[in-house]
Subunit: 340 residues, 2 copies
DNA sequence: CTGAAAGCGCTAACAA
DNA sequence: TTGTTAGCGCTTTCAG
């Protein structure tokens, strides 16, 4: 029913090899024959079968991106968009796979990245398993980590610990000493980045001679609602923090709402810093750390493209710049604060 | 370098047909041989080539979803997630294509949906072009419209006009007569849905004997920031509306901010209704119309799956239920309002 | 500049 | 229950 290369060859009265040549822009075809072929193609409304082409070429012309199933989050969407934008311009198809449990990760890391399925893989915010590293990385399709950090992978990453320091230093400089840290659960396989931010936070406290107070560290699911509750909890302490460092903007927004519902004004009564600089952060005038989300996708995809073109290429590591964006949710520590 | 079916056959000392049988769970294989093959497979770490399989089967085992390039919006992401969730459980790969200009749509509708590339196509919020309908729909891969409405397509849709009525009736019932409508630009190829909501709005006004006031209809880009400006404009009129119907929750949130920044309280000073019931709407306690976004993806994908299984299947149309979710941003018209 | 033919890795009759 | 074989639609030597 659908025209094949053979139909075109027949109609143009040439061989299928010639048709293949004109389709692939091979210059070794006379203008006359080329025209005949082109005509036949348009008459028959012919499109080459990608599948056949791929089998013949021995490549799938497809790259997979694997990411946690809550790709609903703004940060994943942004990264995905970056990837999508560069892949669209290439000859590669993009297929998306989501994983939601650590056990599933295992499976995906192995079967998915098998050369029979894809020519390359992008992992977003997912740490590779040891099995994958040992068994598939050496022989399998090239892989790159976006928002991940593993010596044996090409990757684009940020210095999360540094980010944690940036935020905390800013707050300390403003005179805050009661600084809380609100984040995801730190003990999940996904969020090593959060742990690093936490470490940066603690480092700066230490340097500033501020003792770490466990009650100032709260964890919960990565969502506004949960963050709001955690913030209420924090702000209801006998000796509440004067500043909150939320490990993501999404969570910072929850804090914002909690503060607002408790009648507090920012930055007069409370200072707040987020992380990521998602759209809403700008909109809400939230002080935050900017990390290039969209660009991380773009760069990851570009690195992958280059690795697929030249498999001998050495590991490439891109560390993206972080910058503190000071907006209106941070200010000097309130005068009225009871000094601890 | 990678094991093929032939390697397995050799190692197991059987024919490739037998290997193919065990791989495809064909019961006509003795347990003994099956075991031999299975062993060989695991020793060689064999995975069948999907490409070869597809070529042989004459199917691509791939479905494409085509959507506007701003898939960054919560509503698209939700729909996409629904599609992804059902496809993950099937044997189909999902490839994503975005289009950003009407001219690109044209191209995608034709080349993309060509049978050589995909077995099925899902279009999200994209109206099919006449060319596509005439040339490709009859012979090409089955297609379904998610959030679209066209007689010749299977589709899952909502009654947007009805949604517009629901909102407006609610407002009218509360006593409002100065009701504004804030939306995307109505004259783009994408948002027919917005136009229908607008029509629903006007119908109810008419029924209620409320003349339509052009200055109460404002349009702008689909974003919080733009909506905030539009709302300010609306609220600064000499005779400002007492209620605003925002055609999407995202825009409603912009209105919320505008009102708040002008010192207005909701619903005392202003009533506000959104549309979609995205996560944030619940979080912000926004009165809105719930439309099953995630489910639209699920259903669209299921319909497509059934069409691919049985191409003779007639067109399936699912109209999803809409429901008005009354939360805290709507209330009776303020007493102090100057009656018009 | 053009054509013949082998082969990419698999599936599915058809035979045995 | 198993093997043989003919494709699927294309790319790519190798000859001419």
């Amino acid at each position: 029913m659908v025209a094949t290369i053979r139909d075109v060859a027949e109609k143009a009265e040439v061989s299928i090899a010639t048709v293949s040549r004109v389709v692939n822009q091979n210059p070794a075809v006379s203008d006359a024959t080329r025209q005949k072929v082109l005509d036949a193609i348009s008459v028959l409304n012919y499109t080459p079968s990608q599948i056949a082409r791929r089998l013949s070429l021995g490549r799938t012309q497809t790259v997979a991106v694997v990411l946690p199933s809550f790709f609903t989050r703004p940060s994943y969407v942004e990264r995905l968009r970056g990837i999508q934008d560069v892949l669209t311009k290439s000859e590669y198809d993009l297929v998306i796979h989501t994983v939601d449990s650590p056990v599933q990760i295992e499976g995906y890391f192995t079967t998915l990245s098998h050369p029979s399925r894809v020519d390359g893989v992008l992992f977003i915010s997912l740490p590779p398993t040891k099995e994958y590293v040992e068994q598939y990385l050496p022989t399998g399709a090239p892989a790159v980590l976006v928002d991940g950090n593993h010596e044996q992978f090409s990757r684009v990453m940020i210095d999360d610990r540094h980010g944690g320091r940036l935020v905390t230093e800013h707050l300390v400089k403003l005179g805050h000493r009661r600084i809380a840290f609100l984040s995801d659960f730190l003990n999940t396989p996904y969020y090593i980045s959060m742990q690093l931010r936490f470490e940066g936070y603690r480092e700066v406290l230490k340097t500033a001679g501020i003792p770490f107070r466990p009650e100032y560290h709260v964890e919960g699911a990565h969502a506004r609602l949960e963050a709001r509750e955690l913030a209420r909890q924090l702000l209801s302490l006998d000796d509440p923090p004067t500043a909150i460092f939320a490990a993501s903007d999404t969570q910072a927004i929850g804090v914002l709402d909690a503060a607002r519902s408790m009648g507090m004004r920012l930055p007069e009564d409370l200072s707040l810093v987020g992380f990521d600089n998602i759209r809403d952060a700008e909109y809400l005038n939230l002080t935050t750390v900017h990390q290039p989300l969209y660009e991380s996708g773009v760069q990851g995809a570009q690195i992958l493209l280059s690795m697929m073109k030249n498999p001998a290429k050495p590991i490439q590591v891109v560390t993206q710049e972080l910058s503190l964006i000071i907006r209106s949710t941070t200010g000097p520590v309130p005068e009225t604060g009871v000094s601890s």
